[in-house]
C-alpha cells in the first residue's frame, strides 16, 4: 500500500514540476501557485529524497529544476549519493540567468557548504565565455564569485568586476567594447543585445537603426521578439528552426487575417517542427484520436498567454506526425475544424468530444485539456469510466490525458476521473516521453517499476552530460592548441 502511495506522490510531483512555473494561471494567482508548489517540494524532499533528486533527470521545467537544486543544496545533512552530480548536470543545461539567480538565492539564504561551492566552481568553469558573462550578468557573476570565494576567470575579468577603474583599456574585445560603449556609439554593437540596449538609449540611437545593426548579436528569441515588435514577419529561416510549442505560440499570436494569408507556410513549418519532435517515433502510433481543448480557459493568463492552447495546437501536429499516415483525427472542443484559426472561446464539452473521438475506433486517445470539463461537469470522466468498464475492458484503446495547467488547489494537474491517467505537460514536443510516464499514472505499476524507470533516466542523463562535457573539453583543448601553434 505504502508503495502505491509513494509512487502516486512522486508522479504527482513530476506532474507539478513539469507544468507549474509559479506564474499566474487562468484560474489561480501567482501567489497560490507558489505557495502550493513550495509545499509540494518540501513534502517530496522530506519523504522521498532520492526520488526527488532523480526528478532532475526528467523533463521538468527550469523553474522547478532550479527549485529542486536549491532545496537539495539547502539541506546537505540528508544528502544522498550522486546528488551533486545530478545537480551539476542539470544546471549545465539550464539558462544562465536562472542559475545566477539560484546562486544569489543561495547566498541570501546563507547556504555555503562545500558541495555548493564545488557546484558553483564547476559551473562557472564550464562557461564558454567568462567575459561575456561578466558583461551580461555582471551582478550575478560578482555575487557567485564572492559567495564561493573564487578568483575570476582571468585577471582582466577580475578587474572589470571588482576594480573597474584600475585599467584604462582591456585586451578582451567584449570588455573593451563595454568600456568604449560609454562614449563611443559604434562600440555598443559588439555587446550582447540586453546590455547594448541600455547604451543605445544613453546615446539616443534610433530604435530602428539600433535593431538593424545589433541583429547579428541577438539570440534567436530576441530576434523573434524584436522582429514582431518592428512589424516585420519572421523570416522563413526563423520558422524552420523553432521548436514546436514556440512555433505554435508564434502562430497563435498572429492576427487571423495573417494566419489565413500565410496558411501554407505556417502549416508546413508546424508539420516540419512536429516531424522533428516525433523523431524515431514518427508514424508508429497507429490510429490516433485527439480531443483538443480550445475553450476560453485555454487562453491562459497575462503571463502565460495562450499557453494551453499552444500546447494543444502543437499536440495536434505532433500526434498527426506520430500516427500512422492518414489515421489521425483531431477534434477541438469548440467543434472547429481548422487548427490554424483556433481561438480560445466557449465552454469545454469534453465528454461529447470524447464520444466523437471514440467513434473513430482509435488505438490511442489523447486528451489535451486543463481538465475543467464543464458542459456538463464530469461527463468526460463518466464517459471514459463507462467505456473502460463496460465497452472496452480488454483495453484495446489506450487513453491518456495530458494537462498543461497545474491546479494549485489539488497539488496536481486536474484529472478527468480516477480511471484516466493524467500527466502534466509543458511543451508539446515532450508528449512521447510523457505518455511513457502515463502508464505509471494508471495506478497499476508500483514503486519498484517507477524506481527502475527513474534510475534508467538518471543513468541516461548523466551519461549524456559526461559525453557533452568530454566533447567540450576536447574542443577547448583543440582551440587551445590551435592558439598555441
Amino acid at each position: 500500500m505504502s508503495e502505491l502511495v509513494a509512487a502516486e506522490d512522486v508522479l504527482l510531483f513530476v506532474n507539478a514540476a513539469v507544468t507549474a512555473t509559479g506564474q499566474r494561471e487562468f484560474r489561480s494567482s501567482a501567489a497560490e501557485q507558489r505557495l502550493s508548489l513550495a509545499f509540494l517540494h518540501e513534502y517530496v524532499r522530506v519523504n522521498y529524497r532520492p526520488l526527488y533528486a532523480s526528478c532532475l533527470a526528467l523533463d521538468i521545467n527550469d523553474h522547478n529544476a532550479v527549485l529542486v537544486a536549491e532545496h537539495l543544496l539547502r539541506t546537505p545533512g540528508e544528502a544522498g549519493d550522486g546528488e551533486g552530480r545530478l545537480i551539476a548536470a542539470r544546471l549545465a543545461r539550464t539558462a544562465p540567468q536562472r542559475v545566477y539567480r539560484l546562486f544569489r538565492t543561495l547566498r541570501g539564504a546563507g547556504v555555503n557548504n562545500r558541495r555548493t561551492r564545488a557546484i558553483v566552481r564547476e559551473w562557472l568553469a564550464a562557461r564558454p565565455d567568462p567575459a561575456l558573462d561578466a558583461v551580461k550578468y555582471r551582478a550575478g557573476v560578482k555575487d557567485a564569485l564572492r559567495h564561493a570565494h573564487l578568483p575570476a576567470a582571468d585577471a582582466e575579468t577580475g578587474d572589470f568586476l571588482f576594480a573597474p577603474g584600475r585599467r584604462t583599456r582591456y585586451e578582451n574585445r567584449t570588455l573593451e567594447a563595454y568600456r568604449r560603449a560609454h562614449y563611443d556609439e559604434n562600440a555598443l554593437y559588439a555587446l550582447p543585445f540586453t546590455v547594448a540596449e541600455g547604451f543605445a538609449a544613453k546615446h539616443g540611437v534610433e530604435r530602428k537603426v539600433f535593431l538593424e545593426r545589433i541583429a547579428p548579436r541577438m539570440t534567436r528569441l530576441e530576434r523573434l521578439r524584436s522582429e514582431r515588435a518592428a512589424g516585420r514577419p519572421a523570416g522563413a529561416s526563423g520558422l524552420a528552426v523553432m521548436p514546436l510549442t514556440r512555433l505554435a505560440l508564434y502562430v497563435l499570436g498572429l492576427p487571423f487575417a495573417e494566419r489565413a494569408a500565410r496558411r501554407a507556410e505556417l502549416t508546413e513549418a508546424l508539420r516540419a517542427a512536429a516531424r522533428r519532435a516525433a523523431g524515431p517515433y514518427a508514424g508508429s502510433w497507429g490510429r490516433v484520436a485527439a480531443v483538443l481543448d480550445d475553450s476560453f480557459s485555454s487562453s491562459g493568463s497575462a503571463v502565460k498567454r495562450r499557453r494551453p492552447l499552444a500546447v494543444a495546437l502543437g499536440g495536434h501536429f505532433l500526434l498527426e506526425a506520430l500516427a500512422a499516415p492518414g489515421s489521425y483525427t483531431g477534434l477541438w472542443t469548440s467543434g472547429g475544424t481548422d487548427p490554424l484559426l483556433v481561438r480560445p472561446y466557449g465552454p469545454t464539452p469534453l465528454g461529447m468530444r470524447i464520444l466523437d473521438a471514440l467513434d473513430t475506433g482509435p488505438e490511442r486517445l489523447v486528451v489535451v485539456s486543463d481538465g475543467w470539463d464543464n458542459a456538463p461537469p464530469g461527463l468526460a470522466g463518466e464517459v471514459l469510466r463507462v467505456w473502460r468498464t463496460r465497452l472496452d475492458p480488454e483495453r484495446r484503446t489506450a487513453v491518456v490525458h495530458v494537462n498543461p495547467v497545474y491546479d494549485a488547489g489539488v497539488f496536481d494537474v486536474r484529472r478527468l476521473g480516477p480511471s484516466v491517467p493524467a500527466v502534466g505537460i509543458r511543451d508539446a514536443e515532450d508528449l512521447p516521453a510523457l505518455v511513457e510516464i502515463a502508464r505509471f499514472a494508471e495506478g497499476r505499476t508500483g514503486l519498484t517499476e517507477l524506481r527502475s524507470y527513474l534510475d534508467r533516466r538518471v543513468a541516461d542523463f548523466l551519461a549524456e552530460h559526461a559525453r557533452e562535457k568530454a566533447e567540450r573539453e576536447k574542443k577547448a583543448k583543440a582551440a587551445g592548441e590551435g592558439a598555441g601553434t
Binding site: 487562468f26 484560474r27 492576427p255 487571423f256 487575417a257 475553450s295 476560453f296 480557459s297 469548440s334 481561438r343 472561446y345 466557449g346 465552454p347 469545454t348 465528454g351 461529447m352 464520444l355 471514440l358 467513434d359 464543464n374 458542459a375 456538463p376 461537469p377 464530469g378 461527463l379 463518466e382 464517459v383 469510466r385 463507462v386 467505456w387 468498464t389 463496460r390 465497452l391
Partner: protein, 400 residues
C-alpha cells in the same frame, strides 16, 4: 402577462466557482429586431481580438432605430443604469430605467466622485454602468410613483417627487465575494444570451439580452451590477457549492455500445435543464408578478414588474423586462429583494392599492391608523409624511 416567459432560452450546464454558480442561457436564434443602443457599443465598430468585425458599424448621429448597414433595422434598448454621454455635451449621465426605442433615455447626472471616474475611463471606451447603489435609489421608486392624491397626511414633497430619492441598501457586485473571479473564469457559450447568477445556490439575479453579441459585451459589467444584502451575505458565509457532476448509470446490460453511451450522456444534459428549471429557478419562473407596461416600440414592450410581496419565505425579485408580441422575454434584468425590502414593498403595495389613503389602508391591514404611521416611519418613509396633516387628521378623527 403575469409570468416571466423564458421560451427560446435553453439552460446549459452551470459553471461553479466557490460559492457562485452561473447558469448560462442560450438562444438558438437571436431575437430579431432588438439590439443594444449603439452608444453602448462605444460609438464605433467593435473589433474582436482576431480583427474581425463582430459588432455593427455605427454612423454618427443620435437617430434610432439602429441601421446596421445591411438594410436591417433594429429597435434599440439601453439597460438601466448605463452611463454614457447622452446629451452630446460631454456630460456623462446614467440611464434611469431601461429604455426602449427612440430618443435619449431619462437620465440622472453622475455625481462628482463618479464623474471623475467616468472621465478616467472614457479614454478606454469601456462599457460602464452606474455604481448601482445610486441606480437602486430609483429602483423601488420607479415602481411606486408615490401618492397620486394629496391626502393631507402626505407631504407635498412626496406628492411632487414620489418616493425618489431614497437609498436602498445594495452591494456592488465587486463586493460580493468571489463574483468577479467567477465571472472572469466563466466560459461564455456560443449563442449565450443570458445568465442566472446564484450565490450559495440562492438566485441572486437574472440577466437576459436579445443577442449574443450584446451579452458578450455586457458580461463583464455584471460585476458592477447591484445585488441585495442577502446575496452578499450568502456569498460571504456560504461555502463552495457543488458542481452538478454528471453520473451515468451503467447497471448490468444498461450500456452495450457507443450509441447507448451517447444517449446516456445526452440524457445527463437534459436532466440538468429540467432539474434547474424545476428546482433552482422555480421561484423566479413560477411567481405571479404584477407587470406594468411602461413603453412600447415596434413589436416590443418594456415592462416593470413587482413580486407579490408575500412574506412566505420565497424569493422575491423585482425587475425590468422587454417582451415581444407573444410575451417572450427579449431583455430581462432582475434584482433580488431582501426580507426588509420585501416588508417595505408590502407596505407600499398596500398603500398604493388604497390610493395611499391611510385610514383605509389601516382598515385593510386590520390595525389602527397610528400603528400604520409607526410602520411607515419604521420602514424609513417617515419623510414622506406631513406632521401637520397627521395631527389635523388625528384631531378630526377623534372629533368625528
Amino acid at each position: 402577462m403575469t409570468r416571466i416567459d423564458l421560451t427560446g432560452l435553453e439552460v446549459r450546464p452551470s459553471q461553479v466557482w466557490g460559492g457562485i454558480r452561473l447558469v448560462p442561457l442560450v438562444r438558438a436564434e437571436p431575437v430579431e429586431g432588438l439590439r443594444l443602443h449603439r452608444e453602448v457599443y462605444g460609438g464605433g465598430a467593435r473589433l474582436d481580438d482576431g480583427g474581425r468585425d463582430c459588432g455593427y458599424a455605427s454612423s454618427p448621429g443620435p437617430s434610432s432605430p439602429v441601421d446596421v448597414g445591411d438594410g436591417t433595422v433594429y429597435t434599440s434598448y439601453v439597460p438601466h443604469g448605463f452611463v454614457a454621454d447622452w446629451s452630446g455635451e460631454d456630460r456623462e449621465t446614467a440611464a434611469y430605467g431601461t429604455r426602449l426605442g427612440d430618443g435619449s433615455p431619462a437620465t440622472v447626472p453622475v455625481r462628482a466622485p463618479h464623474h471623475r471616474l467616468a472621465k478616467l475611463r472614457r479614454g478606454e471606451r469601456r462599457l460602464r454602468f452606474l455604481p448601482l447603489h445610486l441606480a437602486l435609489e430609483g429602483y423601488l421608486a420607479l415602481h411606486f410613483g408615490g401618492p397620486p392624491v394629496l391626502w393631507e397626511e402626505w407631504s407635498r414633497e412626496a406628492l411632487r417627487r414620489g418616493l425618489s430619492p431614497r437609498a436602498e441598501a445594495a452591494h456592488a457586485g465587486v463586493d460580493v465575494p468571489g463574483l468577479a473571479e467567477a465571472l472572469r473564469v466563466f466560459e461564455v457559450h456560443p449563442g449565450q444570451c443570458g445568465v442566472l447568477v446564484y450565490a450559495a445556490d440562492a438566485l441572486a439575479a437574472a440577466f437576459v439580452v436579445p443577442h449574443p453579441e450584446d451579452y458578450r459585451l455586457l458580461h463583464p459589467t455584471l460585476v458592477e451590477d447591484l445585488y441585495g444584502e442577502l446575496v452578499h451575505q450568502y456569498a460571504h458565509y456560504g461555502g463552495p457549492v457543488p458542481a452538478f457532476a454528471a453520473r451515468i448509470r451503467d447497471g448490468a446490460g444498461g450500456i452495450r455500445d457507443l450509441a447507448d453511451l451517447r444517449a446516456a450522456a445526452r440524457e445527463q444534459e437534459r436532466r440538468w435543464a429540467v432539474a434547474h428549471d424545476g428546482l433552482m429557478a422555480r421561484d423566479l419562473l413560477e411567481t405571479t408578478y404584477a407587470f406594468e407596461r411602461v413603453h412600447r416600440a415596434g413589436p416590443f414592450a418594456l415592462y416593470r414588474f413587482l413580486p407579490p410581496f408575500l412574506r412566505d419565505g420565497r424569493e422575491q425579485h423585482i425587475g425590468e423586462l422587454i417582451a415581444d408580441r407573444k410575451g417572450r422575454t427579449a431583455y430581462l434584468k432582475t434584482f433580488r429583494l431582501s426580507d426588509a425590502q420585501v416588508r417595505r414593498g408590502y407596505l407600499l403595495r398596500r398603500l398604493a392599492f388604497q390610493d395611499w389613503h391611510l385610514e383605509r389602508t389601516a382598515g385593510e391591514l386590520g390595525i389602527v391608523r397610528d400603528e400604520l404611521v409607526r410602520r411607515i416611519r419604521a420602514a424609513g418613509f417617515g419623510g414622506l409624511l406631513d406632521a401637520n396633516g397627521l395631527a389635523r387628521a388625528a384631531r378630526e378623527s377623534q372629533e368625528g
